[in-house]
């Protein structure tokens, strides 16, 4: 069966195929760039493996073990081939495999990010939509000022404040994310509270503002005006004529926010010492474990590509004009 016969008929799957290919290209380019950047560093990886106590013989040995003497292209090719199979190679500063190191950290981070997202998305949509629907009112102005203040709060600052007030001072939630490493954060769910809270609060401002702007624009647009002039009840106007048509930009900004969340997690995890990819990223870059860094970049890029794919798909699904488009 030819590709065309599979994908030709359905424009949606053809689009998905196109996006998947482009996403794969993105992952490839990002990994290649990182690989090259990492390879071109002053002093090669062997130094960091052996560190201060490395004798020249040891360095040579490590270099041999890590195939550092092979050409860069060959190494990348081999790395890529294995990476596709989920094998990100050995870590430089640890006897373990990179995928083995990343997997539990990624799980922890994904749990944290998912809970934060699960709180953040409805909250952002609700406040944004409310402010947008009541644009210009005192509620809108209040929310706008609040979102602005939230927007301008560095994560580490808010995290520190929360850890001190809610953790140390009032003993409400643990200020440090200590939990059983094997079982993950579920073994002590209380540790998730403060990191989640920090992520939600600091990331709320941007999507809420964008959603507000979109909803406010829709509410003052021709579609809504016409519906009003024809006596459609206000509640229905808000839902079916304003919010419904803000879904696509809403999804766009939410997906962006989720990606920002992924970045914010780096800081938040370090504030609360949460063992996720954020703390791992800092450790790995500090220790120059470039294989781990590379693995992290690859993982995050794949996540990025997947989120983008999902976003595009959702946007097409909720936008009739795009859904029925012939590619």
């Amino acid at each position: 069966m030819s590709l065309k016969s599979i994908f030709g008929a359905n424009t949606m799957s053809r689009f998905l195929l196109m996006r998947t290919v482009s996403g794969a290209g993105l992952v490839l380019v990002v990994c290649l760039a990182t690989f090259v950047a990492v390879t071109l560093l002053p002093g090669d990886a062997a130094n960091f493996v052996s560190g201060r106590s490395a004798s020249p013989e040891r360095l040579a040995e490590v270099r041999e073990r890590l195939n550092l003497n092979d050409p860069v292209a060959e190494r990348f090719f081999r790395w890529g081939l294995r990476a596709v199979q989920g094998d990100l190679g050995p870590a430089l500063t640890s006897p373990r495999q990179v995928s083995e190191i990343i997997a539990p950290r990624l799980r922890n981070s994904l749990i944290l990010a998912s809970i934060a997202a699960a709180l953040l998305v409805p909250l952002a949509v609700a406040t944004g939509a409310l402010a947008g629907a009541l644009a210009g009112g005192s509620m809108d102005r209040g929310l706008s000022v609040i979102s602005l203040v939230l927007l301008s709060m560095p994560e580490f600052f808010l995290g520190t404040l929360l850890a001190y007030w809610l953790g140390v001072k009032w003993h409400l939630f643990p200020p440090i994310a200590l939990f059983d490493a094997a079982q993950g954060p579920w073994s002590n769910p209380a540790v998730l509270v403060l990191p989640c809270l920090t992520l939600v609060i600091t990331n709320l401002g941007y999507p809420a503002r964008i959603i507000r702007a979109n909803v406010a624009e829709a509410m003052s647009g021709r579609v809504v005006l016409t519906a009003r002039l024809n006596g459609i009840p206000e509640r229905r106007i808000v839902w079916k004529y304003a919010l419904r048509n803000c879904l696509a930009p809403g999804i766009q900004v939410i997906s962006l926010t989720l990606l920002y969340l992924l970045g914010g997690i780096i800081v938040v995890e370090n504030v609360f010492q949460f063992p996720g990819i954020g703390t791992l990223a800092v450790e790995a870059t500090q220790q120059r474990d470039l294989n781990v860094v590379l693995g992290l970049v690859a993982t995050i890029t794949v996540i990025y590509a997947l989120v983008m794919l999902l976003t595009d798909t959702l946007i097409i699904l909720v936008t009739p004009k795009l859904r029925t488009l012939r590619f």
């Binding site: 005006l225 016409t226 002039l229 006596g231 459609i232």
Partner: protein, 613 residues
């Protein structure tokens, strides 16, 4: 039948002394009053800035932000919608009075299916009749199919005309007593326009709905409305039965409007100037600055309505003077046809996104000749213009200017070719970079295009001369684009095109964004320039009236192919191609039916006979 109920009730819609103003108290609409019987129809005519859309929205009880009702009542079904509470207003809207906005296609909810858009109105305003039958009936009213495949389509999957009709179907679904149509035909091509007008006429006949039509287009009003109200700067200047009003217009403004309508074979007469915006309206007759028969007291005394005929009122004490000349037929023109054509297009083919937009198009323009390219939207006519200008790449074909080949890309053209081919674009509001004064842009054009010898001359006098040629005051040189009206901007755009003695000016829908009175000014200007300076003109338009009033020769473009070309009078008199026939049939002035405009059109035909043996 519901219509009968309406008839028994008296008036469907009554407006009493309605004044609408900005919050700053500057009046937008002043002292408008009319009554519409059930099944009746009223046209509200006015140029942009006359306050007609504000008035239309007030009819359904809406005022935009910053706008308030200063006084007056709007009575629907015995209720003053302006005084009603929100619940009551919502109950009146849709059920008693429905509103179809300007550019209705863009106001349709893009995420609702066609059937749902109609069903929505039924479910909310007439739940007792909610059902597929009623939906089918509403679709049928505007001649839209009501099969499930069609009902499942989204607005973007419909054509512009279908969208417009869908909007009307939705508005009519709950069988309101009054339907307000704001610019129902603007943005549609001629054939679709005609169709919409026909549908609305049929609709009235079948449902007995009273219709208020807001339009800048006298021909639309003539076709649709029993009575007409002419609005100028927020004031009613004339009001009366449409036929009487158009046939014997009493107010100088109305007369000016009628004279300005572009009709084939007629020289339209423009009205210079523009209506004052709300914050600059002072006492006296607001039209007096533009009025050719203004008396001294016109500027001080606010004219009171006077009777000009049965049910015909006019706000001009001097309305009997009638100083405005009738639109003049086109006179004879001498042309030299033996020299090398200014523009010679041979077998031009242009592709856009894998589709051929122009196929083997050939076209010639002689020196001083005015050639029109007539076509529907999407026919490729704009592409042709842009291709000649070098803004669009061609796939095949040859374009020669005065016998020498023109490079396909404007960036590769030598200065002489750049100077020779000029363009006037559709939207005057974006024709000038808002960051620079008109004078600055014109000077830059002169510097870049004129040969160095002339460029050395002092700027200012040349600039002023240029502005004078397009009849713009000297102050325009120091004005920013945003400070000028559309008509002034378009004249400035023509000035820019004329800056360095061009051989050919391409006018791409150069008048379609302008008010009728201003459009006439531009047409006049273009005609005069070609006659005085020997410039050739390529007029690209969908508007038969414009094309017919300006061109010597017409090419008809249909889906990328030239389907017909002939001298203008010949084509108008005996169109060969299907498209040309339909276009001619779609106009009230060229087709039978218009009492006002058709007569003049016949008159021109006579003159043509003498022109072309």
């Amino acid at each position: 039948m519901k219509a009968l109920d309406h008839a028994r009730r008296g008036t469907a819609l009554a407006v009493h002394d309605l004044s609408i103003s900005l919050v700053s108290a500057a009046p937008i609409v002043e002292n408008v009053g009319f009554a519409l019987p059930p099944g009746g129809s009223l046209g509200i005519v006015g140029e942009s800035g006359s306050g007609k859309t504000t008035l239309a929205m007030a009819l359904v009880g809406h005022t935009g932000p910053g706008i308030r009702i200063a006084s007056g009542r709007v009575e629907i079904a015995g209720r003053d919608i302006l005084a009603a509470g929100p619940k009551e207003v919502a109950a009146l809207r849709g059920r008693q009075i429905a509103y179809v906005p300007q550019d209705a296609p863009s106001a349709l909810n893009p995420s609702m299916r066609a059937g749902d858009i109609v069903a929505e109105m039924l479910r909310i305003h007439a739940p007792e009749r909610y059902g597929s039958d009623s939906i089918a009936k509403a679709m049928d009213l505007v001649d839209l199919p009501s099969d499930s495949a069609f009902l499942k389509r989204y607005p973007h999957q419909l054509s512009g005309g279908q969208q417009q009709r869908l909007a009307i179907a939705a508005a009519m679904a709950a069988e309101p007593r009054v339907l307000v149509l704001d610019e129902p035909t603007t943005g549609l091509d001629m054939i679709t326009q005609k169709r919409i007008l026909d549908e609305v006429g049929r609709l009235r006949a079948r449902t007995g709905v009273a219709v208020v039509v807001i339009s800048h287009d006298l021909e639309v009003v003539e076709e649709l409305c029993d009575a007409t109200l002419v609005l100028y700067a927020g004031r009613v200047v004339e009001q009366g039965p449409t036929r009487a009003l158009l046939k014997v217009p009493a107010h100088p403004y109305t007369r000016g409007l009628i004279g300005a309508v572009a009709r084939p074979g007629v020289r339209p007469r423009g009205m210079y100037g523009s209506a004052p915006p709300p914050n600059r309206r002072k006492g006296g007759c607001l039209f007096s600055p533009r009025c050719p028969q203004a008396h001294d007291d016109c500027r001080e005394v606010n004219p009171a309505p006077q009777k000009a005929g049965p049910e015909h009122w006019v706000s001009c004490p001097y309305h009997v003077e009638k100083t405005i000349v009738e639109a003049a037929p086109i006179g004879e023109r001498k042309r030299d046809t033996c020299e090398i054509p200014v523009l010679d297009i041979r077998d031009l083919t242009v592709a856009y996104r894998g589709q051929r937009v122009l196929k083997n198009v050939s076209l010639t323009i002689q020196r001083g000749e005015r050639v029109a390219l007539l076509g529907q939207s999407g026919s490729g006519k704009t592409t042709l213009g842009r291709c000649v200008a070098g803004l669009v790449d061609r796939e095949a074909g040859d374009i020669r200017l005065n016998g020498t080949p023109l490079s396909p890309r404007v960036a590769r053209r030598p200065r002489d070719q750049l100077r020779a081919v000029q363009m006037v674009l559709q939207n005057p509001y974006v024709s000038f970079n808002p960051q620079f004064t008109i004078g600055a842009t014109l000077r830059r054009t002169m510097r870049m295009l004129c040969d160095p010898g002339r460029a050395a001359q002092p700027d200012r006098p040349r600039l002023l001369h240029l502005l004078e040629r397009v009849r713009l005051p000297a102050e325009a040189a120091d004005a920013y684009p945003a400070q000028l009206s559309g008509g002034e901007l378009q004249r400035a755009a023509i000035a820019q095109a004329l800056a360095c003695a061009p051989d050919l000016i391409i006018c791409d829908e150069a008048t379609s964004a302008l008010d009728v009175s201003v459009q006439a000014v531009v047409i006049e200007l273009l005609r005069d320039l070609t006659e005085d300076e020997g410039v050739s003109l390529l007029v690209i338009s969908h508007d038969l009236g414009v094309v017919g009033s300006i061109s010597d020769r017409i090419y008809v473009l249909d889906q990328g192919l030239i389907v017909e070309h002939a001298p203008t009078p010949v084509l108008l008199a005996s169109p060969k191609s299907d498209l040309a026939k339909r276009l001619i049939a779609s106009r009230p002035d060229t087709a039978a039916g218009s009492t006002v405009f058709h007569a003049t059109s016949q008159r021109t035909e006579k003159t043509h006979d003498t022109l072309h043996p």
